[in-house]
């Protein structure tokens, strides 16, 4: 039942935003709404943990523990982003970068975007899944091109064109799955549950070709190299609260779509094929992103490439497979979403203050923005995988999964690229966080709502670094069962 509230509240909020004129009140209402959504999704998690049966409504919605895990992740990041948006839009308004009307439009798009992401995770029909993923692109394109300047429009154009092409290939893959399901499985349905139930009867050769299209197609949206080229542009040009959503959860919804097809493919032809493809694309993403992180000067592009890296790690984890690898990959999805959102918020505050993205110019953040600076120190350590933060735990679990499954060489490569990123990031951030602050720059100007968002996300990073709470552990285990097809 909770799912209807989770879907309805963002829609309702976007309607309220359309009618509203007072941005300040609207931004608070927005956060309140997303707090309620988070409460509902927490209820949904507890419900699923206790009863663990998939729920289906009207032969259209299908919610199992895998969807619930993604819903929970999305609602956490949504709440954080809506909190951070309060201060961010207020600053933009004060500086006259956007008008009051434009700020209202932002909240309309924000809520439509979060609705479309929730929608991806709850539909049963694979054709509707495609429609939902395309909807996320179309809505977020406006958020990428929000400032209407040359750079942001260029980024939005590339984003929408490249992702639409990718997703067309995914549609071809979906059609091929439907083809073999109707020819060999004797069902005239695109429902995931139906196709999984006849997975063993499907034609292996068609399934292989179809999954390749799916992986390349949705992989484009997920930001896997070499189809990632839209990602650094879009993430660096979007508003910082939106960058967090794009990087933290949008990429993950595409991964979710791939996973649904991977489950069918694994059931049909065994795990070797999907696993090898995942490892290949994962390593490629790690390799490409490590190179770009080393030479990057733009702070937001750097985080964008770091997203490519982490998507690579997640894919690698799914490729290693086995209960441990899958568990690690899922946990990494959550950890990366939380940490990367925190970093994008930090980068957003820095860019707002210094009015530049260039890391050679930004210096002395600790002195100028004390709170943000200190959180960012810990954030960087968390992001590059230092203990005792959450990403360290999930990366270690993925590595253990890799060694257990006998993937020694890919695991070693993973460590090698992670080390490069480790060095590159630490070097860059040492320079911008410390160093001498520009003389004419006044310290301070951090908003309470922004700090709240930082603390909210940071508490996840710390807690998950030491222990995995019972409910999260249980939902992850249930989701692992679904992916491994048990």
């Amino acid at each position: 039942m909770q799912i209807f509230f989770i879907l309805a509240i963002p829609l309702l909020l976007s309607i309220v935003a359309m009618l509203s004129k007072d941005t300040k009140r609207l931004s608070f209402l927005n956060s309140l709404g997303h707090a309620i959504v988070l409460a509902f999704s927490a209820c949904l998690v507890l419900d699923t943990v206790n009863f663990s049966e998939p729920k289906a409504f009207f032969n259209f919605f299908y919610i199992d523990s895998l969807s619930v895990f993604f819903i929970f992740t999305i609602s956490v990041i949504n709440l954080a982003s809506s909190l951070y948006s309060i201060g961010y839009t207020a600053m933009d308004l004060k500086e006259g970068v956007i008008s009051e009307r434009k700020a209202v439009k932002y909240y309309v798009l924000f809520n439509l975007f979060s609705f479309s992401m929730f929608f991806v995770t709850v539909v049963n029909n694979l054709g509707m899944l495609w429609v939902a993923v395309e909807m996320t692109t179309l809505v977020s394109a406006f958020l990428v091109g929000f400032y209407n300047n040359k750079k942001s429009i260029e980024a939005a154009w590339k984003y929408i064109i490249i992702c639409s092409v990718g997703i067309s290939l995914a549609l071809l893959g979906t059609i091929l799955f439907y083809f073999t399901a109707s020819q060999h499985g004797n069902i005239n349905s695109l429902n995931w549950t139906d196709i999984v139930s006849v997975a063993k009867k499907l034609d292996p050769r068609v399934v292989k070709a179809a999954f390749l299209f799916i992986l390349v197609g949705y992989g484009t949206k997920a930001g896997l190299a070499p189809m990632h080229t839209w990602l650094p542009d879009a993430h660096s040009q979007a508003l910082s609260p939106t960058s967090a959503l794009l990087s933290g959860v949008l990429l993950k919804t595409a991964i979710y779509a791939v996973l649904r097809f991977a489950i069918i493919t694994n059931k049909c032809i065994g795990i070797g094929y999907v696993s090898n493809l995942f490892i290949l694309f994962g390593l490629l993403s790690l390799c490409v992103s490590a190179g770009f992180i080393l030479v990057q000067k733009d702070i937001k592009r750097m985080f964008a490439y770091s997203s490519v890296e982490h998507i690579g790690i997640i894919t690698l984890g799914f490729g290693f497979g086995g209960p441990i690898g899958l568990y690690g990959a899922l946990l990494h999805i959550f950890n990366h979403a939380v940490t990367k959102s925190l970093m994008f918020f930090g980068a957003g505050s820095i860019v707002k203050k210094y009015h530049t993205n260039n890391m050679n110019v930004i210096k002395g953040v600790i002195a100028v923005l004390p709170f943000t600076g200190i959180i960012l120190i810990f954030g960087v350590f968390a992001l590059i995988g230092m203990p005792p933060f959450s990403i360290f735990i999930s990366e270690i679990i993925i590595l253990i999964g890799g060694f257990k499954a006998g993937f020694y060489f890919p695991s070693a490569l993973f460590l090698f690229f992670a080390a490069i990123v480790f060095g590159g990031m630490l070097f860059r951030f040492g320079k911008i966080l410390f160093g001498k602050k520009p003389q004419d720059m006044a310290a301070g100007g951090e908003r309470l709502s922004g700090k709240l968002a930082f603390v909210f996300l940071f508490s996840f990073i710390i807690v998950l670094g030491f222990t995995i709470p019972g409910f999260l552990n249980k939902i992850l285990l249930l989701a692992v069962e679904i992916i491994s097809g048990a």
């Binding site: 029909n125 054709g127 509707m128 495609w130 429609v131 395309e134 909807m135 179309l138 394109a141 406006f142 091109g145 209407n148 300047n149 040359k150 750079k151 429009i153 260029e154 980024a155 939005a156 154009w157 590339k158 929408i160 064109i161 639409s164 092409v165 067309s168 549609l171 071809l172 059609i175 439907y178 083809f179 073999t180 109707s182 020819q183 060999h184 005239n188 349905s189 695109l190 034609d203 050769r205 068609v206 070709a209 650094p232 542009d233 660096s236 040009q237 770009f292 030479v295 990057q296 000067k297 733009d298 592009r301």
Partner: protein, 212 residues
């Protein structure tokens, strides 16, 4: 039999699009391609006496033969875009490449699909080759409007692929995809306006502010 004729029509329209050097011929080519597609769907509807397919054929005609070409022409005349397509690969070579892509589609169908499909594989060859040619047009035609057309050519190919196997996808999925494609074209149109206003041209190869 009629289906084969219409299939030939689709393929011919696609090749004429690849060869065309002017924007208006490109748009007309797309309208012709969509018209043949609507006719095929109509034939399938008559053959199976299927109400849903009649509706799909009607929608195809309305959206892809009338609305989208009209919309594209309107955008083109509003922003005064030059008719020259700025071919990155000249039209002779393009047609040659399109021929190769069609052959690749044939090979894929012969080796992977036809074993399990039996009769209808020529539809599949044509549809897959249209998808590939659409992709080719998106990559090698560097004007904003031609990229949009490449995208909807791909969608047309996908639609035909879906229709070629067991009479199309479930009805409401088909409708949702229609709606989505139309929305996508409309939104891209909005961005063409924005690009034109900011850059005073719509040459995608000159959008080079973002690097690395």
């Amino acid at each position: 039999m009629q289906i084969d004729i219409f299939l030939f029509g689709i393929l011919a329209a696609t090749f004429s699009m690849v060869a065309s050097k002017r924007l208006n011929t490109l748009i007309s080519g797309f309208a012709a391609q969509s018209l043949f597609l609507a006719l095929i769907t109509f034939l399938l509807a008559v053959k199976n006496n299927n109400l849903e397919l009649y509706i799909v054929a009607g929608l195809l005609f309305l959206i892809k033969v009338i609305l989208i070409p009209y919309f594209l022409r309107r955008v083109a005349s509003r922003i005064n875009v030059s008719q020259d397509l700025g071919l990155f690969v000249n039209s002779t070579l393009s047609v040659f490449i399109a021929g190769i892509l069609t052959y690749l589609a044939y090979l894929f169908t012969k080796n992977i699909i036809s074993m399990s499909l039996g009769g209808a594989s020529s539809v599949f060859v044509v549809s897959l080759s249209i998808v590939l040619i659409g992709l080719f047009m998106m990559i090698f035609r560097l004007k904003a409007l031609t990229q949009i057309i490449g995208l909807i050519v791909m969608e047309n190919g996908l639609f035909l692929t879906a229709a070629s196997i067991s009479g199309g996808m479930p009805f409401f999925v088909e409708i949702a995809i229609f709606f989505d494609v139309f929305l996508c074209v409309a939104i891209l149109g909005i961005f063409v306006y924005k690009i034109n206003r900011l850059f005073t041209h719509i040459d995608i190869d000159k959008l080079t502010e973002l690097k690395g």
